[in-house]
Amino acid sequence: MEPFLRLDAAAVPISAPNIDTDQIIPARFLWRKRRDGFGHLLFHDLRFNDGGAPKPDFVLNREVYRDARIVVADRNFGCGSSREHAVWALYDYGIRAVVAPSFGDIFFNNSFQSGLLPAVLRAERVAALRALLEQSPGSHVAIDLEAQTVTGPDGAIDRFEIEPFRKECLLAGTDDISFTLGHRQRIAEFESAYEAKLRWL
């Protein structure tokens, strides 16, 4: 995964709440291998008709959003199944950040593991951002992870919260396994004490 530092890119508004992971990537594609990529399958059934042609009315198919790298969504984005393919599909397509008032819990956790930034802003501000993007399609949103800010097309700047460790991982483009393995000794000590106490486990 690529390090995430600063991003100034066209943002695409997706204006429905509860966009579930079945819509982000339908279950029939999940058997595929990570390395083969999932970007072409992102929002598949919303994006393509039965013959595989792009649906002109789906927002991502509009020419003006061709280079979009940010999604501005509505509440509870990524709810539903635990499939990390939803994150991979967004990432492989080129999306590096999703701004929303709230996220499905598992999707939110998965995002950090694969280099996608989920940024939570107040619902009113996210709605205003979507309205701005709808008024001027193709306009840019800028995200500065170091400063934890989202700058809208109107120039207004909002700060988002992020756990420091997750921020570091995104900035460095790493996941947390190697960090955890650095604590092997502590893990082993915990296990022996725990298993001595609960010996039936």
Binding site: A16, P17, N18, D20, D22, Q23, P26, A27, R28, L30, W31, R32, K33, R34, R35, D45, R75, N76, C79, G80, S81, S82, R83, E84, H85, V87, S102, G104, D105, I106, N109, N110, Q113, S114, E163, P164, F165, D175, D176, I177, T180, L181, H183, R186, I187, F190, E191, Y194, L198, R199, W200, L201
Partner: protein, 469 residues
């Protein structure tokens, strides 16, 4: 004396290995279940040159991609589906994991197999790369779903970094009416709090209704905690839990049983423990529920009508109802009992256990279905038990297909799909757009309600059937 703690607090603190300066906690994982969707996690591990740290704590069974027409690899006739099942079996063998494979009657939906084998126990932290892992919380465990990278992390370290969610308690008191089941309770809860109502929380289900409920009903309720947005759902262990576990293959034995029992008895929330949120529900007011929309919160008592977007409280809500009704091809104001269906599915990790099959069979006994219908037991052992009780004969005489165990039509990854435009009465957990197949329309309900729908050919109130012989 220790500060008053909830069941969740107690499990959390007893599994905390270390706390990062930013507050994230490294948790020890007691049980890790894996299924046939874990190929990418194993590949990740291989790429990093890591091995499975605790094969003894990792249990595998194929469920999403298995055929329900035959209980073997050869019955999976699509190469990509057979491939992922073979891959799971190969990964399990290579790493020395316990595998309940297709040649084993213990195979089944991972969330049915865990409790059935006695692998899911009070006080444990259990994870699985599947959002319905919350199911196991019915035994008094903290159980939650994780993504593929986290599966890799648990395989490599037997731990997971988590931020502590908040405590929420839902208290349900009173007796459920005849024809009202655990599924109706959880659908009523989700209809009340919404699909994001539990985000950031772990829900403890409590109250006299839950205490009087068997483990299988509790499993159904905890299973759909994720549909309420919660990280996990749990029920405090009690005598019902202990009786359920006693004698199961992986439950503690002899002296270990007594030690375990003493530990489990210390787990329930202290009387004066504080919850961040609390909600009360009167069980006597719950009627059989069905969903009418494309989100589990779009649920209503069967006695009601399809809602009218015009009466929605705000524009966003109106849009969302309009979109749902367009996809579901429903008109505002239609009585729910006038919605004709094309197909019935009884199964899934929500409702495929023996009590679910018994409840459906009770309605089906001596009657005939008027639409295609299939019953998919949750495991090979549930299927065997049902057959020993003669339930398979009741299903088949009624016109149901009697299939082999697996996730099947809940998510359609094995090819058991609802056709575009078809309307399915389903005992599964999600009615999302395209969930059971592209263009498929799903109505969620209990097994008894699904059986009644199969007989009537439309959504119907199972209480009409309850009084007949």
């Amino acid at each position: 004396m220790a500060a008053p703690a909830t069941l969740f607090d107690k499990i959390w603190s007893s599994h905390a290995i270390l706390v990062r300066p930013d507050g994230a906690t490294l948790l020890h994982i007691d049980r890790h279940f894996i299924h046939d969707g874990s190929g990418n996690a194993f590949r990740m591990l291989k790429e990093k040159g890591l091995a499975v740290r605790r094969p003894d704590r990792t249990f595998a069974t194929p469920d999403h991609y298995v055929s329900t027409l035959g209980h073997d690899l050869a019955s999976i006739n699509e190469p990509h589906r057979r491939g992922v099942v073979e891959e799971l079996e190969a990964n399990a063998k290579a790493a020395g994991l316990t595998l309940f494979g297709l040649s084993d009657r213990r195979q089944g939906i991972v969330h049915v197999v865990g409790p059935e084998q006695g692998l899911s126990q009070p006080g444990m932290i259990m994870v699985c790369g599947d959002s319905h892992t919350a199911t196991h919380g019915a035994l008094g465990a903290l159980a939650f779903g994780i993504g593929a990278s986290e599966v890799g992390h648990v395989l490599a370290t037997q731990t997971l970094w988590q931020r502590k969610p908040k405590n929420m308690r839902i208290v349900i008191d009173g007796m459920l009416a005849d024809g009202v089941h655990a599924k109706d309770v959880i659908l009523a809860i989700i209809a009340r709090i919404g699909t994001a109502g539990g985000v950031g929380h772990v829900i403890e289900y409590a109250g006299s209704t839950i205490r009087a409920m068997g483990i299988e009903g509790r499993l159904t309720i905890c299973n759909m905690s994720i549909e309420a947005g919660a990280r996990a759902g749990m029920v405090a262990p009690d005598d019902t839990t202990f009786a359920y576990l006693h004698g199961r293959p992986y439950a503690p034995k002899r002296a270990d049983w007594d030690a375990a029992l003493a530990h489990w008895g210390s787990l329930p929330s202290d009387a004066d423990a504080q919850f961040d949120r609390e909600m009360h529900l009167d069980a006597t007011e719950i009627a059989p529920m069905v969903t009418w929309g494309t989100s589990p919160e779009a649920a209503a008592p069967i006695t009601e009508r399809v809602p009218d977007p015009a009466t929605a409280p705000d524009a966003a809500r109106r849009d969302s109802i309009e979109r749902a009704l367009a996809y579901m091809d429903l008109r505002p104001g239609t009585p729910l009992t006038e919605i004709a269906i094309d197909r019935v599915f009884i199964g899934s990790c929500t409702n495929s256990r023996i009590e679910d099959l018994r409840a459906a069979a009770k309605v089906l006994d001596g009657r005939r279905v008027v639409v295609p219908a299939m019953a998919v037991p949750g495991s090979g052992l549930v299927k065997a038990q049902a057959e020993a009780e003669g339930l398979d004969a009741i299903f088949k005489r009624a016109g149901f297909e009697w299939r082999e165990s697996g996730c099947s039509m809940c998510v359609g990854m094995n090819g058991d799909l609802v056709a575009p435009g078809e309307r399915c009465a389903s005992t599964s957990n999600r009615n999302f757009v395209g969930r059971q197949g592209k263009g498929a329309r799903t109505h969620l309900m209990s097994p008894a309600m699904a059986a009644a729908a199969a007989i009537a050919g439309k959504l119907t109130d199972v209480r009409q059937f309850a009084t007949r012989p």
